[in-house]
Amino acid sequence: MKRIIQLAAGIALSAGAAAAEVAPGDVVFGEYGEVVESLTGVAGDPEAGRAVMNKGSGNCVACHQVTELEEVYPFHGEVGPSLDYVGERWTEADLRGIVVNAKNVFPDTMMPAFYKVDGFNRLGDGFTGKAKEGPATPLLTAQQIEDVIAYLMTLQ
């Protein structure tokens, strides 16, 4: 776990320099929790998004089944619905809203908010069990979110 987090933190740092990102506190949500504007203005990379589904702070398959991923990542969870055909059920803006902060779309959901830095209870420093000093780092970077959305849109 620790290693995974360090990896995620590393990615966060290197991506931090990118231009014109929407900061977690500045995301604009629509009436149903959707997020219309890209967080980076850079098109998402579905291949990179596919990797986030499995690894590090993404780890979507911990809770979701995706048929297309079963061969590469055989152990998936059953906590959330299957994401097969999710690109047909939802628009890109909806999916961005769900991944940024699923609680805006599904109140009381168990799905964590992947682009949120405040409002946590007993925020820890990764998986160390210690208190986090200073501000939180979102679970995914803005570009990782865009990459995951691009991947989800391929699930049609």
């Binding site: 780890n59 969870g77 168990m110 998986f127 069990g129």
Partner: protein
């Protein structure tokens, strides 16, 4: 459980059984040494107000191989620690030169009904005591011996010994009377989300028991089987150490074993298992 069973059966079929090969036989029953019957499934206690219909021991959710290890004391690696606990029971320690046995005699008789009712309110001390706290109270107040470290070595051995002689008795922790305030504090903690993943105990162990979370088969997080011998770290694990691990996994600042919060949570979680058998030391992965 029906639903969960059905669900995993469908998934297993869909996946050719691969990802679920390690899932448990949820209908198996636990008999230890061919004679000691263990209640691993019981109607949920009334104080849960319908949050669960049935309570299940964590044993139910483990793989066949892990389940079998607990069915015979020769195969249960936790029993080695029980033997150390038994030796300590009979060993005089401290300034009074007394052993546990000097006051309590044969643990198989005097301790038979103990594990099932802890944590428990202590009138004199005016506090809820876990079994570990009571062990330390005996050591420091009656024996003049040093307190043992919470959730570690000798303490877990003694707790395992006292649990082992209570195996088969039915968990019956008091939730009202003077214990009620701590019980309510524990209940609040159980339902409070923590950490950057923003999850409560209930999210995983009440809403999703029977489901897989990645490669882990979620149980109800019951503590009737503690201390547990975990194959993962090859030693006895205490209740509050387990709580700490679960809170840490929500990416939160944990509480410490022995803290008032974890004592309250232990009381509350123990009470969720009222009706199940004492099972410690159990075997888990």
């Amino acid at each position: 459980m029906k639903k969960a069973l059905l669900k995993s059966a469908i998934c297993a079929a869909a996946l050719g059984g691969f990802a679920h090969a390690a899932a448990a036989d949820e209908s198996a029953s636990l008999v230890i040494n061919g004679e000691l019957e263990i209640v691993t499934e019981a109607p949920a206690p009334a104080h849960l107000d319908g949050a669960l219909r049935t309570v299940y021991s964590g044993w139910v959710f483990r793989s066949d191989e892990t389940q079998v290890m607990q069915m015979d004391d020769f195969d249960n690696p936790g029993m080695i620690f029980v033997e150390s606990g038994m030796a300590d029971w009979n060993t005089a320690e401290g300034t009074e030169g007394k052993s546990c046995a000097d006051c309590h005699g044969d643990a198989e008789e005097s301790m038979r009904e103990v594990r099932a009712v802890y944590p428990k309110w202590n009138d004199e001390a005016e506090e809820v005591r876990t079994l570990q706290m009571q062990i330390n109270a005996c050591r420091t107040e009656q024996m003049g011996a040093e307190a043992l470290k919470t959730d570690a070595g000798s303490m877990l051995n003694m707790e395992a010994y006292i649990s082992s002689v209570g195996r088969g008795t039915i968990v019956n922790v008091a939730v009202d009377g003077p214990a009620q305030a701590a019980w309510e504090q524990g209940r609040d903690l159980y339902y409070t989300r923590t950490g950057q993943l923003d999850l409560s105990c209930a999210n995983c162990h009440e809403q999703n028991y029977g489901n897989m979370i990645r490669a882990d088969h979620l149980s109800q997080g019951q503590i009737n089987g503690f201390p547990t011998y975990r194959l993962k770290n090859a030693k006895l694990n205490g209740v509050q150490g387990r709580f700490k691990g679960c809170v840490r996994d929500t990416m939160a600042e944990t509480y410490s074993p022995g803290s008032p919060e974890f004592v309250a949570l232990e009381l509350y979680v123990a009470s969720r298992g009222n009706g199940l058998s004492v099972e410690g030391p159990s075997v888990r992965n």
